[in-house]
Subunit: 209 residues, 2 copies
């Protein structure tokens, strides 16, 4: 249960020691939040898992909310990066279809789904978290819309912004909905579902106007 591994101060090279500590805390908190939720996870639990005292947490974060905000930020930054990479790829259309399989797997993963839901639910009641979530969403959706525009142009289709936006919203809804499905119905057939999602995506890209 103890993950501390008494992190050796000698091998500290990535930035300051503070950065390492911050990451330790964020990692521990992420795990706690997954199992107990944002409000069910206590600072005592997080600090134990991070291998430090409760009080020390407050050297790196002003309060528990700041930890939540930082985790949300870190999680979303990762996703925004993936989207940026996708948009930069050569054959956007095929990359998109290929990546969708990965995306389905990601959203069906129980652990990842739990944290995602925890974040969204927190955004529904915490305006600060809502702000962060919305900002990240704007980035991702802009990427998705442009990717979609290119993919559909490749299929000879030219759509206005409103149409592309709605398409993107539906695609986003499918993926994010999968995280709910995996909670409601843990026994679902992941492979069959992935195939069906790909089928819908193909159709979305190439459907007539």
């Amino acid at each position: 249960m103890d993950m501390t591994a008494d992190a050796p101060p000698p091998s500290v090279d990535e930035g300051s020691r503070a950065a390492v500590r911050r990451t330790q805390i964020l990692d521990a908190a992420t795990q706690c939040f997954r199992t107990c939720g944002f409000h069910g996870a206590s600072i005592a639990r997080i600090s134990r898992l991070a291998g430090m005292s409760t009080g020390h947490i407050y050297h790196y974060f002003a309060n528990k909310e700041a930890i939540i905000a930082a985790i949300v930020q870190r999680d979303l930054e990762r996703i925004v990066t993936v989207w940026a990479e996708l948009r930069a790829s050569r054959d956007v259309r095929e990359t998109m279809i290929a990546l969708s399989a990965e995306g389905v797997g990601d959203h069906l993963d129980a652990d990842a789904a739990k944290l995602r839901l925890e974040i969204i639910t927190e955004a529904a009641r915490n305006p600060e978290v809502a702000r962060i979530v919305h900002a990240a969403d704007c980035c991702c959706m802009a990427s998705l819309i442009e990717t979609l525009r290119i993919a559909r142009q490749m299929s000879g289709m030219h759509d206005d912004d409103a149409t592309l936006t709605s398409m993107a919203e539906v695609l986003a809804a499918i993926f994010e909905g999968l995280s709910i499905r995996t909670i409601r119905n843990p026994g679902l057939d992941r492979e069959a579902l992935a195939a069906m999602v790909q089928r819908v995506i193909r159709w979305t890209i190439s459907s007539p106007d």
Copy 2:
């Protein structure tokens, strides 16, 4: 702020007074849970909104978890009923498309979405709630699968169970995903999105095998 309306004992006709009280508590709790979350809502808050003392809550519910479970149950029973009605309708295919508009509106409603997310997130950490949620989901999905089978047969398509199940999962994911979308991006265009969802549903019903 006071919803009590000192419920007149004379006009009590629906079952016992206890049933009325139980409903009062559940209504108040629902509202609290929407704004503060399952764990952020205190018994004190709920009892104040329900117009009774904290202690009295425990005459009707063993503990806070039981209130959560009851709300989840009540919410899901409503949905299961809607699905049962849909399945019993005549022109299933058109009823399905028509009802989808209603479904989109329902899932995009911020208040409804908040409670739905609260429930799912709780199911992700509370096995008892997960059990209730899964049981209700089985009912709804069975209805959806049969509805889908009939609708596709009307379009001349005959699918095996696995295919229908995956289709149903994707449709469910779209709707439930909308609740996440409305949190992430509150400014989305509801009408355009509803139209796009209907387009996807039409295609799903009539797409070739």
